[in-house]
């Protein structure tokens, strides 16, 4: 497999400031097509900011970020075109409360991809089935549990057929009993070969699907290793300390 030659995200020397606050410091990261990267670290470490930079939700001040070959931030049109290669799942779901589950999924298909209503609904239903919730197609987000909403959000993001899925702490806002149903969907997605960057503290999930685990603290990538090395004996002392802390819970 020529995984390395097919790099979909290529980040070099990325720096970002919020005012005087230096939130990303010389971040380097490459994500090859068909691989899974899990980003972890304490809150405020910059991991969410990093993943939001990847699809251009956040801008950066220094360094380069190539998404599917496009330098982000140079031209608004090119950034928008590159963003179309991504799907994003948020911590707080961000489903549109005034639209049914089905309409949440078909909105971008119809307005962005220019599909007809019938085509869009077929595609959306296929993805709702993939996340095991087709029976809720006509429900409104407010009528669903958190876990169900997050699965719908995953289906919505999949509808535009992205080349890479970005997950920003997808299970952090969920009650414990709902985390598994969302993780199961994500594992299935990984097994199907989807390229994923996932900010999460679910180390079981990381161990199961991640090819690479990245540990961030204070805006820096302190540790970046294969999941076997990361969970094995090697690794940065800070990431070991972090692992011990969250595995205790």
């Amino acid at each position: 497999m020529s995984i390395q030659s097919d790099t979909i995200v290529d980040i070099q020397g990325l720096n970002k400031w919020f005012g005087a606050l230096h939130v990303l410091k010389n971040v380097d990261l490459a994500v090859a097509s068909g691989t899974r990267v899990v980003v972890c670290g304490p809150s405020g470490s910059g991991k969410s900011t990093l993943i939001r930079c990847i699809n251009g939700l956040e801008t950066y001040q220094q360094g380069t970020l190539r998404l599917a070959g496009t330098m982000l931030g140079l031209s608004a049109r090119e950034t928008a075109a590159a963003r179309r290669q991504t799907g994003m799942v948020f911590q707080s779901f961000n489903l549109f409360p005034h639209l049914t589950v089905l309409s949440n999924c078909t909105l971008a298909l119809r307005r962005v991809a220019g599909r007809s209503r019938a085509e869009a609904e077929d595609i959306a239903m296929a993805h709702l089935e993939k996340v095991r919730i087709p029976e809720k197609a006509q429900s409104y987000p407010g009528q669903l549990s958190g876990g169900q909403q997050q699965r719908v959000a995953i289906a919505r993001a999949l509808c535009l057929n992205p080349r890479i899925m970005l997950f920003d702490e997808p299970t952090s806002a969920l009650d414990p009993e709902m985390i598994k149903e969302v993780l199961d969907v994500m594992v299935t997605l990984a097994r199907d070969g989807m390229t994923m960057v996932c900010v999460t503290h679910e180390m079981g999930f990381a161990r199961e699907v991640a090819g690479q685990v990245v540990f961030m603290d204070g805006g820096c990538i302190l540790d970046s290793a294969s999941s076997r090395d990361f969970f094995g004996s090697a690794g940065h002392p800070r990431s070991r300390l972090f692992l011990e802390k969250i595995l205790k819970h």
């Binding site: 699809n55 939700l57 928008a80 963003r83 179309r84 991504t86 799907g87 994003m88 948020f90 707080s92 779901f93 961000n94 489903l95 549109f96 409360p97 005034h98 909105l107 971008a108 307005r111 962005v112 409104y140 987000p141 407010g142 009528q143 919505r156 993001a157 535009l160």
Partner: protein, 219 residues
């Protein structure tokens, strides 16, 4: 002289006939106030000097009585050679006065939409225009529906102010009868009762609408 019931009843048809004028004035003023208020809020949102200025204008309007605004427009516009009918001036006055309040309604309605909504729209590659039309505007409209209905009732209750400009709404008609017959109590009491019933009925309708909206929009 006591309360002449027969005379009071004889004034009912004339005053009742003005209900249409009252509702028309309230509706047009409400639309005018909503449009102006929306414009104010959009300028305020853009910010800069214009935004600050509009913010001050909104505060100024909210700190001054509607009666003073009606006099202002009624006497100042002709001074500059602008001659408009008294009903037009009245509607302008109510629109202007309530625009300050409706700007706040729009502000609250937009602020209540979580930031994640427009972020999700961007992440889905929706254009700015599509995001506004399909994501932001429907949620804003739902947020403002109830307060807008309440302000319609408020505007309705302010329409009798136009009697001071001799607009023939309900209070104006009552005063017309009074000045012809020199009996004030009966027509005024009749106008008061009819107006109270009207206001209660409409505010009840607004409440019903609000509950239905809440039921449909189960989040």
């Amino acid at each position: 002289m006591g309360f002449d019931l027969a005379f009071a009843l004889s004034s009912v048809p004339t005053i009742l006939g003005a209900v249409g004028t009252t509702l028309f004035v309230a509706l047009v003023s409400c639309i005018g106030a909503a449009a102006t208020g929306f414009l104010f809020e959009m300028v305020r949102r853009v910010g800069g000097i214009a935004g600050l200025l509009i913010g001050f204008v909104i505060d100024f309007i909210r700190s001054t009585p509607v009666l003073a605004w009606l006099y202002f427009l009624y006497f100042v516009l002709p001074f500059y050679g602008i001659r408009l009918g008294s009903m037009t001036v009245g509607v302008m006055g109510l629109s202007l006065y309530y625009s300050g309040y409706l700007a706040e309604v729009f502000k609250a309605g937009i602020d209540a939409i979580p930031r994640g909504q427009s972020e999700a729209a961007r992440a889905l590659s929706l254009s700015r225009r599509d995001a506004v039309i399909h994501v932001i505007a429907p949620q804003m409209l739902r947020n403002i529906a109830a307060p807008l209905g309440n302000y319609f009732v408020s505007i309705l209750k302010a329409t009798p102010y136009l009697a001071v400009l001799a607009v023939p709404e309900m209070l104006g008609q009552a005063f017309d009868i009074a000045s012809e017959t020199y009996r004030y109590t009966e027509p005024l009491v009749v106008a008061g009762i009819i107006f109270l019933v009207l206001a209660l009925a409409i505010s009840h309708g607004v409440k019903r609408l609000e509950q239905r909206l809440l039921a449909v929009g189960a989040r």
